[in-house]
């Protein structure tokens, strides 16, 4: 198995509603010498969990079977895909009745998954495998003036039992270390582990927006240059809906730029902002770019 070649799992949302994330991920991977391969993956299966957990895990496992057939480990950039696919790895590898049921469902469709590959979020891969030290060596524009708030998102960390304790679910540090390696200052704020409300938004817009508003209020108080995240749903909530939340609750204006982690890394690697998909950011990022002397 190639050490530096991976299947990129985009999921459903990113290639349609998160192009800035995809563009910046591909660019950063290229700069760091990480080769990404595109396979015709389907949905990870996450939305099916509400309907039929076995069908959801089977869809996830079928995707793993596709990657395994190409002998490729999988890098994900959506937290929900990360959770669903990692959970499928654990279910199928473990000796449990659900794993057996899932295996049968997948076999019925002429596929098999033998548990020989792993799945990791790109951020986890950078932290655990690529290494923060190696990342630091690639930094050309240290982001010294930037104060950053991190939104980890739920499924990057929880449930921790599927993630081999690569990070502490209550006091995570993996992405803090990545961002500090870029030269920026990470600022703590109240409720940093709270959910964005994205999944609730599907069923009750006001309630989902209420959760997102709480975080925007807390981040505003922390006086940061950007909120950095690494999940497309969280981005939709904080960037895409920032103006909606201001209108809905008659609050703000927040003017909090929301960057994907890969956009921030790209800036530190000296990539031209024009190549990092900032056109798709809803909240103006120019104040942040001004601080590092770049034009968007």
């Amino acid at each position: 198995m190639s050490e530096e070649e991976f299947a990129l799992f985009l999921g459903c949302t990113i290639p349609v509603r998160g192009l800035g994330y995809e563009i910046s991920t591909r660019k950063v991977a290229q700069e760091l010498g990480i080769k990404l391969v595109d396979l015709n993956f389907s949905c990870c299966g996450y939305p099916l969990k509400s309907v039929d957990v076995v069908a959801a895990k089977s869809m996830a496992t079928a995707n793993l079977a596709l990657a395994e057939s190409k002998k490729l480990n999988v890098l994900t950039i959506c937290n929900a895909c990360t959770g669903t696919l990692t959970d499928a790895c654990v279910s199928v590898n473990g000796e449990n009745p659900v794993g057996e049921e899932v295996r049968k469902e997948v076999e019925k469709q002429g596929l098999s998954y033998n548990g020989t590959i792993w799945v990791k979020h790109f951020a986890r891969y950078l932290y655990e495998d690529y290494s923060v030290d190696k990342l630091r060596e690639h930094v050309k524009v240290p982001l010294k003036n930037l104060r950053i708030a991190i939104h980890y998102g739920c499924h990057y960390l929880r449930p921790s039992e599927i993630y081999d304790e690569f990070d502490d679910p209550e006091h995570p540090e993996s992405v803090k270390k990545i961002i500090e390696a870029l030269g920026a200052t990470v600022v703590d704020y109240a409720g940093r582990l709270d959910c964005c409300g994205g999944a609730t938004m599907t069923f009750n817009q006001k309630l989902g927006a209420t959760l997102a508003k709480k975080k925007l209020d807390n981040v505003k108080k922390a006086n940061v240059d950007a909120l950095v995240l690494f999940c497309p749903f969280c981005s939709i909530m904080y960037d895409g809906h920032q103006r909606f939340i201001e209108d809905e609750f008659n609050c703000g204006p927040y003017n909090i730029p929301v960057l994907f982690l890969t956009q921030l890394i790209g800036l530190a690697l000296g990539v031209d902002p024009k190549e990092l998909g900032f056109d798709y950011n809803k909240v103006d990022v120019q104040p942040l770019l001004d601080k590092i002397g770049k034009e968007g």
Partner: protein, 169 residues
């Protein structure tokens, strides 16, 4: 401070349905519901409970154990649950409340109660293997950005909407 919970829950014994608990326990994720101690760490960790007392994982679990099927399924809380796993992470008994919520939703779907948003997603997954079909606009945008083109369908694992949603015709 979250709003206090002043609701008095009346248990109408004649309406209890013991098969509800059995069905939940049969679904992956619902197996461990009976070891719940009602300590309430799930509710104190729940971001929705902070918004309103009507969203309460501890009570939902208790009602499910008692067989209060109508009350559990008529409260939209199980669908609003953001699946953030804060409860699951902290539950001292390993009940996995967020998985219990999924088991309850699976039972609801079996009974033919699926929200429209869910039906739409399942329809797209059956037809395209994706939550969002690839529209012309997306194709053009991706081409303009020099991103790899996407196949319109990605049916790695085929599903049957009617079967999953228990639709009659």
């Amino acid at each position: 401070m979250p709003e206090a919970d002043t609701e008095q829950t009346v248990v109408e014994t004649e309406k209890l349905d013991s098969s509800f608990l059995r069905k939940i326990m049969k679904h992956p994720g619902g197996e461990k519901i009976l070891v719940c101690l009602q300590c309430g760490v799930c509710s104190s960790s729940c971001p929705l409970r902070l918004v309103s007392p009507e969203y309460n994982p501890r009570k939902t679990v208790k009602k499910a154990i008692l067989g209060m099927k109508d009350q559990v399924l008529s409260n939209e809380f199980v669908w609003f649950c953001a699946d953030c796993n804060a409860c699951t992470e902290r539950c001292p008994q390993g009940v996995n409340p967020s998985e219990v919520m999924k088991a309850i939703k699976n039972v609801a779907v079996e009974e033919g109660v699926a929200p429209e948003a869910v039906k739409k997603i399942v329809a797209n997954l059956e037809e395209h293997g994706r939550v969002y079909p690839i529209e012309e606009f997306t194709k053009d945008e991706r081409e303009m950005q020099d991103l790899p083109s996407l196949e319109p369908d990605a049916k790695v694992f085929k599903i049957n909407k009617k079967k999953l949603l228990r639709e009659k015709n």
